[in-house]
Symmetry: C2
Subunit: 272 residues, 2 copies
């Protein structure tokens, strides 16, 4: 074994670790930010959970849920813990997106944030923490605009996507100011994170089964197609779509639902 291996000071690994003292230099704070996506029950829109900030900086702006990574937990564990604390959700789909580390992204101090994408089915109820002002925003994006709206609260947050600059393929900075309708903005660089998250979701919808995490246990094929279309931001051809997903689903045999008095669609479930 190598346990007897000694370094230039004549120390074994065990001895080295015992005498090791971390340098006394400044360290950044590390946080997780979570993009919690779902779809609304009527399947009209993809939705994203935001929290209204009650203090400076970016007071009254909307921000992604998140929090600090503790010293004894991984970022993944931290994201899971924050999700549970802020929404009550457990055991849901959670995927690391990207790490944002630009100095100055938080004016208080140096904060490096590891962003995660979380997905829940439309049926899942989210316990809105009374202490915080949380809100589901409808989210959509076309080639030059990122749009977040809350109909009930009449809030519109809009970001132009022009003049984007890239860090070798991933957006790192977008200095467009938001187009205000109801004086609402996103906090920090969360506009970038949301953009990156949507793009990731869109790309992975093409070559993985990630979208099924937005569906309940049972669903109809027209509903599944609507969710795919919301995520991808474009219409799909019914025949091609069904050809493509036919090996991924099974007909449960149960009675389907019929909306607005038309033909009933069959219920399917995801076949892993």
């Amino acid at each position: 074994m190598d346990s007897e291996l000694r370094n230039k000071d004549g120390l074994t690994e065990k001895e080295f670790l015992l005498q090791y003292r971390p340098g006394d230099y400044e360290r950044p704070s590390v946080t997780v930010d979570i993009l919690l996506f779902t779809v609304d029950p009527e399947l009209n829109s993809l939705k994203l959970l935001l929290i209204k900030r009650g203090n400076h900086p970016y007071m009254n702006c909307w921000a992604l849920p998140g929090g600090f990574v503790d010293m004894d937990e991984s970022a993944f564990t931290a994201a899971n813990r924050e999700l549970k604390e802020e929404t009550g959700l457990e055991g849901i789909y959670l995927e690391q997106l990207y790490t944002y580390s630009q100095p100055g992204r938080d004016p208080r101090m140096r904060v490096i944030s590891i962003a995660y994408i979380a997905l829940i089915p439309m049926t899942e109820a989210v316990a809105g923490d009374d202490a915080t002002d949380t809100e589901w925003f409808d989210i959509s994006m076309d080639s030059d605009r990122l749009l977040l709206t809350s109909k009930e609260k009449d809030i519109t947050i809009e970001y132009l996507l022009k003049n984007k600059t890239f860090e070798s393929g991933m957006i790192t900075y977008d200095n467009q100011v938001p187009q205000l309708k109801s004086k609402s903005k996103l906090a920090f660089d969360h506009n970038l994170i949301i953009y990156d998250g949507l793009m990731r979701l869109r790309n992975k919808a093409d070559y993985t089964d990630i979208v099924f995490n937005l569906m309940g246990e049972q669903f109809t094929l027209p509903d599944l197609q609507r969710v795919y279309e919301m995520v991808l931001g474009r219409k799909l051809y019914k025949k091609n779509f069904r050809d493509k997903i036919k090996d991924k689903v099974v007909n449960t045999g149960e009675e389907g639902k019929s909306i607005k008095g038309n033909k009933m669609s069959a219920l399917y479930s995801y076949k892993k």
Copy 2:
């Protein structure tokens, strides 16, 4: 403007930031690790740069180049700086891969590492820092093995890829011990980082032009195909390959090269 907006303590944003003091809690160290890939001049293998550790922990094990992220620089800037310091390379392709944050991944202290993929053409010379023991390893991977070899130094590093566990699609832990031939191992969780990096490179080779970053200014189509095949880890059909990349390259008209006395192939360059 919102500059007069006051929080519950009656402070404006400016006042708040002036009196703000970061909490006195422990923070993790943050580093960057760099996967520097290239291809060998004979186009027989994909290559990865590793550095032999001269001290505990993981003394004499091979590790990815990297270093600490300073307080006034982004992770991207830190990766660029480390690359320049350790290899002399500047302005090359650099893409964030994933962030590794498992507690205990460094036995000295809590270290969160942001991994980057860097690509250089085969022609590029890398200034081997005399102080450190750096080495280009041939790298290959099949369905159940990750293999790193240095012919000159007769080093073989092999990791089984069974019993992988996933963090929602990205590998986070692999408790296989390496199969030793020459008593060489990778330090820390760098086996995971290398695996993830290779998979990212492989996936992106399919739907982006990332592979061109491994080519010089001019190249022949057979050479380009060989590089694609090394990255993808599988053979490609000549006709299909050429159909697919024909819009991405232009014939430079210059004389091509002929190896081993056969027909000469034409020189092309990448058409952005």
